[in-house]
């Protein structure tokens, strides 16, 4: 079983084949704008000194994250990572709560207990990542195990980067999923830089997806800046898993367009590499496609862009009004009480 390199999606007809109508396409575009807009505003907040700690973005990964978030079924679950803001946005996390999270406020999904994209809203099927990558892969694998044990027609998604692919968790997870043919899709956000470490110092094969063969399932490499191609491949993999066809390893190739975090100017990334990948900026690329293939015009684009801006401005205002967590509440909530299990989290 060799790795498959996915073709780009070219025409509107092909898009219809994968089940997207024009409204869906515009929704994808809107989510990508929202994702970038949230992170750009987050960066400004950081520079204004309003975000404690550090700040991470997923610039360059908006298409992959939004496409996969869109391809997930309503009851599917996963644990997206720090380059996957688009998944949270697509699943419906309210942007003001994301800003509140950034600023460590009470209304962020972790109520100031954790920062950055270390958050998720469980009611939306997402579970909060930890810093130790890819420690959420075994957890996502367990979600898929639960679906298999119960016979649920649900799928889990486990995200990891090409850097974290070097860790044993990745192997243990994929091996287990392969052995038990679990309903899971492993998504590798391959942005080519693990902090400052290039791919050739992280792994010795051509693609991370090559490894899928070793676990007895399919590996697919897709251009992560092509939102439609990622959507098509994610959808295929998810529905295959739902139908009992077992796991897929989907590798989305992008370039991390900024440093590892705000403090890092990424001096080690060759300038030409940035220039080359800037030409396939996922948002610009999809915008051009929509103009050519889906009849997007300036008025409609303006309407989308300004509605996103308006929403984010309002979100910022609302987030800034959110209080800091009460220090006297710190020791509450280390342990769960039995009534904490009576929530939709536990479905």
């Amino acid at each position: 079983m060799a790795v498959r390199e996915a073709e780009p999606v070219a025409s509107l007809d092909e898009v219809r084949e994968v089940g997207l109508d024009r409204e869906d396409l515009l929704a994808l575009y809107r989510s990508m704008l929202m994702t970038r807009g949230i992170e750009e505003r987050g960066h400004i907040l950081y520079k204004q000194g309003k975000i404690p700690g550090s700040f991470y973005t997923g610039r360059g990964n908006e298409a992959a994250a939004v496409a996969i978030g869109t391809a997930m079924g309503p009851n599917d679950v996963g644990a997206p990572l720090h380059r996957d803001m688009g998944v949270h946005v697509t699943r419906g996390v309210e942007p003001w709560r994301i800003f509140a999270q950034y600023m460590g406020r009470e209304d962020g999904p972790t109520r100031g207990r954790d920062g950055n994209v270390h958050m998720a809203v469980a009611e939306l099927g997402l579970h909060a990542m930890v810093s130790h990558l890819p420690a959420m892969l075994p957890v996502a694998t367990g979600m898929a195990l639960a679906f298999k044990v119960r016979g649920d027609h649900r799928v889990a998604l486990g995200w990891f980067g090409e850097g974290a692919a070097a860790r044993g968790d990745t192997h243990e997870s994929m091996n287990l999923a392969g052995v038990r043919r679990l309903p899971i899709v492993y998504v590798c956000d391959n942005n080519q830089w693990s902090y400052s470490t290039p791919t050739y110092l992280s792994y010795p094969v051509e693609h991370i997806a090559d490894r899928a063969a070793a676990y007895g399932f399919e590996g697919v490499v897709v251009d992560g800046t092509d939102v439609l191609a990622v959507y098509r491949e994610a959808r295929r993999a998810i529905e295959k898993a739902r139908a009992g066809g077992g796991p897929t390893l989907l590798e989305c190739l992008t370039l991390r367009m900024e440093g590892h975090a705000v403090h890092d100017d990424a001096f080690y990334v060759p300038k030409e590499m940035f220039e080359r990948w800037a030409e396939s900026d996922p948002i610009e690329r999809f915008r051009a496609w929509l103009y050519t293939n889906a009849g997007l015009g300036e008025d409609e684009e303006m309407e989308i862009t300004s509605s996103v801006k308006r929403l984010l401005n309002e979100a910022l205002e609302r987030a800034e009004a959110s209080p800091s967590p009460d220090p006297t509440s710190l020791a509450h909530g280390v342990f769960a009480s039995p009534e904490d299990l009576d929530t939709p989290h536990h479905k």
Partner: protein, 324 residues
């Protein structure tokens, strides 16, 4: 009531929980056909099927991590580490993910990790450890260390019901050596409630796990000299029954803290510090700790005997305490 060994009580409890709650399932290495390295789940796969008694690859990270994921989806996993020592491979999943998820994201992680622990039969450095103190130091994890068949059965039911990650330390040396009367029906034993294993007023030994029996044997030695020593079995370390300890200190005025784990940074240090902070004026002597020395667990019987606190060591320490 039925007479059961410690290991039979654990099996019995697990079977009862699986019969009454379809969400409870077992996963671990060799737990299915083989019944687990110590046979706790022997016959379970026949009764509950291969998807509720899941033989896992040799992957402790995947075992604990997938238990966490399954718990997030509403199941009640009971994961088995073949030996408690191997939980080091799953440290990240317990400490980084499971322990902190509720605090961060308000999603409870109701998992139990069963840990056959302890030495006494030349298991050597990798099949004899008592790593409970390491986990007791991690906020978000509960730590249970039963000493009797009765408590093992009742505490396992409580652990499975608990909405948090619970580490359930089963002392291997008690598995088949210790028998006791155990109710046949289901019951629970609360976490955080110590039990007086042996009454006494002249001194108190605060301990847990297999050391309860070492302490009791030492107490019998001292009884020959007319000294009555209480043996207070903590039963659980997180939460631990501070009130019971302080009450015993107040009554007995002399305390020995005993554990099979190594001395430095062991949970006994926490108990001794708490007594110093909160019961100093009740003490008639400094708190004494008896614990394993700060070495890996050795293999040779003569060395292992020098490592694990023996009845004579505890009796000698109690005599010194009495003479203070």
């Amino acid at each position: 009531m039925a007479e059961m060994t410690y290991i039979q009580a654990i099996s019995d409890s697990l079977r009862i929980e699986m019969r009454r709650d379809p969400r409870v399932f077992v996963l671990g290495e060799d737990v299915g056909v083989y019944g687990g390295a110590f046979k706790v789940s022997l016959g379970f796969q026949e009764e509950f099927g291969p998807w509720r008694v899941i033989d896992m690859p040799l992957s402790e990270t995947a075992i604990v991590g997938s238990a966490t994921g399954a718990a997030l989806m509403g199941l009640r996993p009971v994961a088995e580490m073949q030996f408690a020592d191997f939980v080091s491979c799953a440290w990240d999943q317990l400490v980084t993910v499971a322990a902190k998820q509720f605090f961060r994201a308000r999603t409870p992680i109701p998992i139990v990790v069963r840990l056959p622990s302890g030495g006494g039969f030349s298991g050597g450095p990798f099949h004899s450890q008592n790593p409970e103190s390491s986990f007791a130091h991690i906020p978000g994890l509960k730590v249970v260390c039963p000493a009797t068949p009765h408590d093992a059965k009742g505490l396992l039911a409580t652990a499975i019901e608990d909405p948090n990650p619970v580490l359930f330390f089963e002392h291997k040396h008690l598995y088949r050596r210790i028998k006791g009367e155990v109710p046949e029906e289901r019951y629970t034993v609360p976490l955080g409630k110590a039990s007086v294993h042996r009454p006494g007023d002249d001194a108190v030994v605060v301990t847990w796990g297999a050391m309860v029996y070492t302490a009791a044997a030492a107490a019998e030695e001292l009884a020959k000299d007319g000294l009555e020593t209480e043996v207070l079995d903590l039963r659980t370390l997180v939460p631990w029954d501070k009130e019971a300890v302080l009450e015993s200190v107040e009554r007995c005025s002399k305390v020995l803290v005993l554990h099979e784990d190594t001395r430095t940074g062991g949970f006994g240090a926490e108990i001794a510090a708490t007594i110093a902070e909160e019961a100093f004026e009740h003490l008639d002597a400094p708190v004494v700790r008896v614990a394993a020395p700060d070495t890996p667990v050795p293999f040779a019987p003569a060395l292992e005997k020098a490592y694990i606190p023996q009845v004579d060591d505890v009796a000698a320490a109690l005599r010194e305490l009495a003479a203070y």
